[in-house]
């Protein structure tokens, strides 16, 4: 994901005046890349595992640690407050989870407000599964009368002025006419009652996950105190999203206050920014990375990554900040040790294990086939597997047969997988009519056929096909080439009369190799030539390459 960051702002939050080169180098070493810089704004690419770095505050916080300006887990004190958010039983079936927090004493300007909106969008995009898992709202604290109520209401009973609008709309209208309603409406549409956030005076805060109200949900330049709310269908994601947004606001100088979330059967005080405690074996860390670190080296590395760490004899006790959503397993901590140590400091090593390399026997067989075809004077060609039914069948004068078809193609040019190579070769030739004749081309490659009994309901099969276009063509020469090819592969083949609408009647045959009909050979029908715009006669053959032709090594 890309984050646009004002460089001067970032450097101020870091607390050190880095040169552009230093900034780029250090970002590189903590998994970020600068995509481009324009007008003092850097577009930084952040990896999907570090959603806590989807804002300038998160990136600055990470760099402060890495540069050892401020190490270990950051502390965000949370004061108690009298605020409550009461969760009605009815949300359990629709959108069960609520997380809230308060930030006071902010100095917001238009740019910061815009940047925090961006953070919300990015976070609810992938991490929030397009708002399905979580959605976030920021409100002007002073306009809300506590306690906040998180309940449901029938769609017709919901009416308020949505953000950026001037008149009241019902929920139904919002889902139908408002762009956010159209985009995210499907998340709540199936339910008879929609989730709703209101204050004690029944003023609407928002219709989660769709849209805030314009009256309470619009932050302005003079807003000092902010109410943060996250609703969702996945508990952990909901809590973590709150943590990420609220700590980012704290990094901007806000002081945090808690909200009591009152569920029907239990209570929670949020935000809960306490560290997650884990233990990782020092031996495992060293075995994975490949060094023999002592406790101090490991703890120093982890502290650079803003993780609290204390070493005992065998184990590192870690305290993981609440905004880190990517630590699922010991290996995630081990990676942070490696990053904290510095990927540019780690010396590569090459182990001394011995294994014997080998190509697939089929690869060697294909190479032999290609060598023989080159020896016969053919130019090798490579075409895509993806194609369309017009090229595969209609232009070949064939009726449309069942082939592997894609449900979500990007264009109708590439919506099926090929079941033969010849159409692609003729397509190639149709684009080269200005080139000097003769044209003699071949391709060796995979095609896909449907097989209901196979593991993937398909077979991936290798074919060889060759086409000659010339002012005069001679099918007996083509047959001679085929015979020579097969004989040089130690295969016995013969041709049997056939009819095939892509070829001239009386000038086409099936190719039989061993006991099986594996292909076709013939003079291409003028209809097919016309369909492809090929202006000279043509002969061609194609056949399947069987896996069991491949000689076994050492046999």
């Amino acid at each position: 994901m890309n984050v646009d960051v004002r460089i001067s702002d970032l450097l101020q939050l870091i607390g050190r005046n880095l040169s552009l080169e230093e900034l780029e180098e250090n970002l590189f070493l903590i998994k970020c890349e600068i995509d481009r810089i324009a007008d003092g704004v850097a577009t930084i690419e952040v990896n999907p595992d570090r959603v806590d770095m989807l804002s300038t505050e998160g990136i600055a916080r990470a760099l402060r640690g890495f540069l050892e300006i401020e190490t270990g887990a950051p502390k965000y004190p949370v004061k108690k407050s009298k605020w409550q958010a009461i969760v009605d039983r009815s949300v359990a079936k629709v959108r069960p989870y609520l997380a809230c927090g308060i930030v006071k004493g902010l100095a917001l300007d238009d740019t910061l407000i815009a940047e925090f909106m961006q953070l919300q969008e990015r976070l609810t995009g992938t991490f929030g599964r397009n708002r399905k898992r979580t959605s976030i709202g920021l409100y002007v604290l002073d306009l809300i009368t506590p306690p906040v109520h998180y309940r449901t209401a029938p769609p017709d009973a919901i009416k308020f002025v949505p953000l950026e609008f001037h008149e009241e709309l019902t929920a139904k209208q919002i889902l139908r006419d408002h762009p956010k309603g159209q985009e995210f409406g499907d998340i709540i549409k199936p339910f008879p009652r929609y989730p709703l956030l209101v204050d004690a005076k029944d003023k609407v805060l928002s219709l989660p996950p769709i849209i805030n109200s314009n009256d309470l949900g619009r932050l302005l330049v003079n807003t000092k105190d902010v109410f943060v709310e996250v609703t969702g269908t996945h508990k952990q994601t909901t809590l973590q999203s709150l943590n990420i947004v609220i700590t980012a606001l704290a990094e901007r100088g806000g002081s945090l206050e808690a909200v009591d979330i009152v569920y029907p059967d239990h209570q929670e005080q949020l935000p809960n920014l306490s560290l997650t405690k884990r233990e990782v074996s020092l031996d495992l860390i060293n075995a994975t990375i490949g060094y023999d670190f002592g406790g101090p080296a490991v703890t120093r590395a982890l502290k650079r990554m803003r993780i609290d760490a204390k070493a005992t004899q065998k184990v590192i006790q870690v305290g993981i900040p609440s905004f880190r959503v990517d630590i699922l397993h010991d290996v995630d901590i081990i990676e942070d040790v490696a990053i904290g140590y510095g990927y540019n400091q780690i010396e590569p090593e090459l182990p001394k294990t011995m294994t014997v390399g080998q190509e697939l026997p089929m690869t060697m067989m294909l190479r032999t086939i290609r060598d023989l075809m080159v020896g016969l004077g053919y130019q090798e060609v490579a075409n895509y597997v993806l194609t369309n039914t017009r090229t595969l069948f209609e232009k070949m004068n064939q009726r449309i047969k069942t082939v592997v078809e894609i449900a979500n193609p990007k264009s109708m040019e590439y919506h099926v997988a090929r079941n033969s190579l010849l159409p692609g070769l003729l397509e190639f030739l149709s684009l080269n009519t200005a080139q000097e004749l003769p044209h003699r081309i071949f391709e060796v490659g995979p095609v896909v056929t449907i097989n209901p009994d196979a593991e993937t309901c398909t077979d991936t099969v290798l074919h060889l096909a060759a086409v000659t276009v010339n002012s005069r063509v001679d099918i007996t020469t083509l047959k001679a080439e085929l015979v020579t090819l097969l004989s040089n592969l130690g295969l016995k083949g013969k041709v049997t009369k056939a009819s095939d609408p892509s070829f001239i009647n009386g000038r086409v045959a099936n190719i039989q190799i061993g006991a099986q009909q594996l292909g076709v050979l013939g003079e291409v029908h003028p209809l097919v030539l016309a369909n492809f715009g090929i202006e000279a006669p043509s002969v061609a053959f194609e056949f399947e390459i069987l896996a069991d032709w491949v000689p076994k090594m050492g046999s």
């Binding site: 570090r50 994975t288 990053i339 090798e380 894609i406 044209h439 995979p446 993937t456 309901c457």
Partner: protein, 513 residues
């Protein structure tokens, strides 16, 4: 001039020499039954070699009939037809009665009368209100020899009337020309006529050519057998003449490049593997610990298959269940898992394979023994629009290294060895992220003109990937961006050109890269 003249050039020179006078290319063409443009190009070539020269270059002027001229050549001039009509009527007729005679179109009446009067063939008198035409006695004779009509007829027959070849007396001819111009019956056009003669140099070349008849051109088995070559000279060949282009059978440079990468990897001890192009979601994503509800698995990241509908088959039930449990709660791996309900229906859905890592995990499931080194270079598919930097169909080269005690440093060591193998010396490592490896690395290489670019991804497979497959030793996974490397090696800027449709490029591209 040491070399033999081409046969046709020789015939031209020969004829020119024996004619003894300057000839025009048209004459040569007729005499030797060669096409005019063949002769023109031979003349051009001989002129360049200074074996012939222009004798006279003159401009020929001739008249070509206009449409009107053609018409009067076919039907004869209106004044002549008027005379014929009057002659049939006994020498006189009223002007109004002319309408009855189809021989003369009504639009031509005035024209005919006017010119017939001027020629003295007809006179006009008034009888009462009517005008009458009277034929003169000389008219009938005059029309059969009328010069203008003769000229028209000749022009029609021969296509043009050249000033040189007319045989009218000058006064008559002048009159005819005036009529041509005034009545717009013919147009004057100019043409250049060239005559050529042989030069002394040309004569020498001809003699040499005749002598060369005695030299051996083609060495044949008969000449060899008869030992004639002992007494004859060999005609030298002009080897410096440019050779015509040839188009031999040839391998595709992209496929060749891939083949070379393949051989390098085999040399590093890797075993090749392959897999089906249509895959199960299970191998394409689930076995790689990608949660089934991840946004990246929606319609924009892989091609779902409509036909066949599926579902496919999970052949190894044990492994499938272990993967399911790992997704849900981490199973025995020590992880929290993704905390959602895993679906076997989703696992069996069919997609076009979107990453070759699917081949790696299939291999791992079938060979869960250390040590192992495997690679695969194979096609993958993603819903992308085709443009200079994106392709919906592309190759990926990936592989795995498995064994007891393998570390992150070993992974870096392997990435460096593989990079060196394909000729890359400048490599630096960045921590990366892939859903199925941790720690992960991105190897960056320096491409002149483009700067540092990501080209060698890698990482240690997460225990959530290896343990459910029955593997309990570390497995290092790595990849090489072969399409990008191929583009750099072949000097291609547009990824679509790797599977170029340009036969001209394939014919001309060098295989040394």
């Amino acid at each position: 001039m040491k070399y033999r003249l081409p046969e046709k050039a020789q015939r031209v020179l020969d004829y020119l020499h024996s004619a003894g006078r300057p000839l025009s290319p048209e004459e040569i063409s007729t005499a030797l039954t060669l096409k005019e443009d063949t002769v023109q190009s031979l003349v051009e070539s001989l002129r360049n070699q200074k074996l012939i020269e222009d004798h006279e270059s003159s401009t020929i002027q001739s008249y070509q009939l206009t449409q009107e001229g053609q018409r009067f050549a076919e039907k004869s001039l209106p004044e002549i037809r008027l005379v014929e009509i009057l002659a049939q009527l006994g020498g006189e007729a009223s002007v109004s009665s002319l309408e009855d005679y189809k021989l003369l179109d009504i639009t031509e009446h005035q024209l005919a009368i006017g010119w017939a009067r001027r020629n003295g063939w007809v006179s006009v008198i008034k009888r009462g209100e009517e005008s009458w035409l009277l034929l003169s006695s000389t008219a009938v004779n005059a029309i059969s020899q009328h010069p203008l009509q003769l000229a028209l007829n000749t022009a029609r027959r021969t296509g043009e009337l050249s000033l040189d070849t007319v045989d009218f007396d000058p006064k008559t001819w002048k009159s005819i020309q005036q009529h041509f111009e005034k009545r717009q019956l013919a147009q004057l056009i100019s043409r250049r006529k060239v005559t050529i003669t042989i030069t002394p140099r040309g004569i020498k070349a001809l003699e040499a050519s005749r002598q060369q008849k005695d030299m051996i051109q083609d060495l044949t088995p008969r000449i060899l057998k008869s030992m004639q070559w002992k007494n004859r000279e060999f005609l030298p060949y002009n080897l410096q003449a440019p050779a015509p282009p040839l188009y031999p059978g040839k391998k595709h440079p992209y496929i060749e490049f891939i083949d070379r990468v393949r051989r390098i990897l085999v040399g590093l001890g890797f075993q090749e593997a392959t897999g089906p192009l249509v895959e199960l979601e299970f191998w394409n994503n689930d076995a790689l610990f990608m949660p089934q509800d991840h946004v990246a698995r929606e319609v924009h990241d892989s091609y779902q298959i409509k036909i066949p509908k599926g579902p496919g088959t999970l052949l190894n039930r044990t492994i499938a269940e272990q993967v399911a449990k790992t997704h849900e709660n981490g199973w025995k791996t020590g992880s929290t898992g993704w905390q959602y309900k895993y679906s076997f229906d989703v696992a069996r859905q069919l997609v076009m394979r979107s990453q070759t890592t699917a081949v790696s995990v299939r291999f791992l499931a079938e060979h869960p023994q250390a040590p192992l080194r495997m690679f695969s270079i194979d096609r993958n598919f993603r819903p992308e629009k085709f443009d200079a930097t994106h392709s919906a169909e592309f190759l990926q080269c990936e592989g795995i290294i498995g064994g007891e005690g393998l570390t992150l440093r070993d992974l870096m060591g392997y990435l460096r060895a593989i990079a060196e193998g394909v000729g890359i010396k400048n490599l630096k490592f960045k921590p990366g992220f892939f859903p199925f490896t941790e720690p992960s690395i991105e190897g960056f290489i320096h491409i002149p003109g483009l700067g540092w670019k990501e080209a060698l991804p890698g990482g240690i497979f997460r225990p959530e990937v290896t343990l459910p497959l029955g593997v309990d030793f570390p497995v290092l996974a790595w990849g090489i961006g072969v399409d990008r490397l191929a583009m750099a090696a072949l000097g291609i800027n547009d990824i679509r050109e790797l599977v170029t449709r340009d036969l001209g490029w394939l014919r001309s591209v060098s295989l040394r890269f």
